[in-house]
Every structure is written in C-alpha cells, then in structure tokens.
Symmetry: C2
Subunit: 228 residues, 2 copies
DNA sequence: ATAAAAAATGCTGCATACAGAATACAAAAG
DNA sequence: CTTTTGTATTCTGTATGCAGCATTTTTTAT
C-alpha cells in the first residue's frame, strides 16, 4: 500500500522523474519537521526499517539524514542501538535561551550598523503585517511572522555564522515554543516589545535595540519556565 | 596492501575485533582531523571511492560521516557532485570571530558566577603550566594549553549549548589558526592577556573577564586579518 | 583546424544483501 | 514465584550492486 505520509520531492510540480534535490536532503527537512511538530516524540527511537517503509525510502538515505540531524543536535546517536529524538530538560532549554538571547543582542547591534534603509523599511512592513495578524487574533500567522522578524533582524546583521547559529537554536526551540501559547496580556506585552524593536531599528539605536531584544527573550524565558 | 593511513578504531588498545565505536563515528573524527590539518585542502573534492579505499572502508559509512560533517559546516554538499571541503574567505573568518568573541564574553560572565573555587584553582594550574611552556618556547604545547584554557572557561559557564557552539567555531577556526603563527612580541601580549584573564576569574570579576576575553580575541582577529 | 555532437568513462545516489550486536522471549533452576 | 540462562528474533552497521547524472574524450561536420 502507498502510505499517505511518503515523502514528496518534486521541486517543480509534477510530470516525470525530474529531480534536483537529493533524497537524503529532502529527508532531513521532512524528519526535522516531524520532530518539531512532535510526530516523533522526544525519547522515541527512530526505527530505520519501519520509518523507511513509512516514508517510502530505503534505509541508506534515511541513515544519512539521521546522521545530519545528529550533528544538528535534534537526535542522539546511541552506538549499536540507533538514534533517538533528543529530549530537552528545563536546564537545556534555559541554556539555549541564554545563548539565543546573547546572539540576538549581538544581531541587534550589528543590524543597526549594517542594514540598508530599504531593509529597515521592509522590516517595518513585516512588523505592520504582524500587527494586523495580532489584531485579527490569528495566532498561527502571528507566530510565523514573529519568527520571520527575528530571523530578519539576524539577517540584517550580515553575519553568516550568526545566522546559522541563530537558526540552529531557533529550530531546536521551535519544538518547545510550539507548545507555549501565551496568555492575552503577555501577548500584548510581546507585541509592544516588537513595536519598540522596530522603532529602535529605524533610529539605528543599537544599544536600545539590543536591550529590547534581550528583554523580549528574557520574558519569553519566564513564560516557558513554567511550561517545561 | 594495508594502507598506512587506514583508520584505527580500537577503544581499548589492541587485541581482537572488540569494538564499541561505530565506524562512521570514527570516520567523522578522522576526516575532521584531516581537514583541520590541511591534508584535505579547502575546495578539494571528497572522492568517495578513492578516499574510502585509502581509509580501508566502504562508501556507506564514509558517506554517513560526510553528511555529519556537512551539518557541522566543514564540508559542502553539491547535488549529484559529491562533497567538497568548505573554503572560508576573509569575511567568513571575520564573521566567525565576531560570534566567537561574543560567546566567550558571555562565557566569561557566566563562569565568574557559576564556577566552583576548585575549578578556578584548576584553571590557574592550567594557566601556570601554559606559562611554563611559553618560557620554554614550546609553541605546540603552548597552543594546546591555550586552547584548553579557552575551552575550560567556557566549560565553567556550565551551559551545554554555549560549549557546543564554542566548540564548533573553535573547530572551524582551527584550520586558520593552525597557520597563523604569531610574532614574539604579540605572543608576549597574548600571554599577558591570559594572566589578566585568570586574575579576573579568581576575583570573580565578570565584567573584567568578559572585557579581557573580548580584547584577547579582538587582537587575534587583527593578527589573522592579514593572513587570510 | 575549430566547433559541435555523440559516445564513453567515472562518480554519485539509492537500494539491497549480509553479518553481528542487542533485545525479547522462553525454559529451567533456585 | 523469582531469577537466570539459552535461544530466537529484530535491528543496526557495513558492504556491494545497479541506475542515472556529470564530465571528458572522441568523432564528425563545417
């Protein structure tokens, strides 16, 4: 039987066996999503045979994808016993947030110095759209734009390594944040912080932007603290 | 013929086919070393067949190791064309050093707060030994201890994520630093900075330690600037 | 002789096959 | 009834085989 959850790897939709993306690469993204969305639960083993059949691929590219994710820190390799989805304790999350905060503070400073005027205007547009979604109480889209803005500020810092590390932590924390839905009043506070962020960026006030970003993430930390 | 450079994977030395480490894991370390030491030059292709034969392993575990290193950022995966050793430009190195600097500054602050008295004493011992090596003009051992001290301070920060990221950057930069041999006067300056670092740690003066670490790395940056 | 086309070679990507380790199960002993 | 030991099964780890893409070389036409 053709399982519904088999991987779909067709860059341009449809006809023929045209393929530009490698299967193992597709699997990396697919598995990452599965872990983030909780389809693969923390602590559960990644059964090569079963999982491979489920996704309609052989073990070889699947194993390669798992090794890749192991280096990313999403799964753990246990010798002779395969791979398990890494489980994050409260301390682990706290550690990640501390580093993430520091990275974003750095990103804020660099962004104020290096961003072009156009780029700042684009950030403002993104922010305004997020505000719209907030007013419409569209949590999912809000969340998505929120993340885009944070990633965007890091991008403006124009530092490849910084972007990479930020992305990595963002990915690991997604699994946590996915759960953490905040209350209305805290949500409002977060939005206010975002407004402050954009204003600081527009003024190219690096100390203020850095401070707001730090505070913003510090608050996020407080929220999660109870959830984990 | 048994090639001299074939991988050696025997955890406890010697007799029999007792093995606890997986081959792909051994290969990750082996290949990483080969890249750091420049045996595999930047931009060169990792030929699966040839390299596998050279190391005495089949392509499967080799490919898995390559995927792992790709996630680490040491090699680049080119679709349908295999893997090449990633080449770092001046901008890349600068980016890494900026982030590394920030991470070490953070580590310094946390270390002052979280390190035990014993651990600080151990760092002092390590530092004193490094000074001995400096006086003996033993560059290699000096370099090794130097790195150990930096890694050690990060360890004292007791933050798993921070350690991991630091390690990652340290690994990538090793390839560069390996080349960068500094002059006598700059070497003396670096040693003085180290002395200052340990003193700040002993005083648990987090602002000062953070500042020194930042300055220390900032100077390293200046040195490399010309080399790359 | 140069350029374009076609064939040939080599390599990557994926699947399959096989060997050894780990786990689960069952039977027997305490 | 619990514990232990032997066996069977399952899964991981590694090797090999085959198909398709990339590149290079050869052939052919202008």
């Amino acid at each position: 039987m053709d399982d519904a959850s088999s991987v779909d790897r067709r860059p341009e939709s449809g006809h023929g066996p045209i393929r530009r993306t490698a299967l193992h690469d597709t699997l990396v993204n697919h598995l990452r999503d599965m872990i983030i969305e909780g389809i693969l639960e923390p602590g559960s083993r990644l059964h090569e045979g079963q999982l491979g059949e489920q996704l309609g691929v052989s073990r070889t590219p699947l194993r390669e994808a798992i090794k890749f994710l192991a280096s990313e820190g999403l799964v753990e390799l246990v010798p002779s016993r395969g791979a398990v989805v890494k489980r994050f304790g409260a301390k682990d999350v706290q550690d990640m947030l501390i580093v993430l905060r520091n990275l974003e503070e750095l990103a804020g400073k660099l962004a104020c110095r290096l961003a072009s005027d156009d780029e700042i205007i684009q950030m403002r547009a993104l922010h305004d759209e997020m505000i719209d979604r907030y007013r419409a109480a569209d949590r999912l889209q809000y969340y998505k734009l929120n993340q885009e803005i944070h990633t965007g500020i890091v991008r403006l810092a124009k530092n490849a390594t910084l972007s990479e590390m930020h992305q990595m932590l963002q990915t690991r924390l997604k699994r946590i944040r996915f759960i953490g839905h905040e209350g209305a009043e805290k949500w409002a506070a977060a939005v206010a912080e975002h407004e402050e962020m954009v204003k600081a960026l527009e003024a190219r006030d690096e100390d203020r932007l850095s401070e707001v970003l730090g505070r913003h993430l510090g608050n996020a930390w407080e929220r999660v603290r109870s959830a984990v």
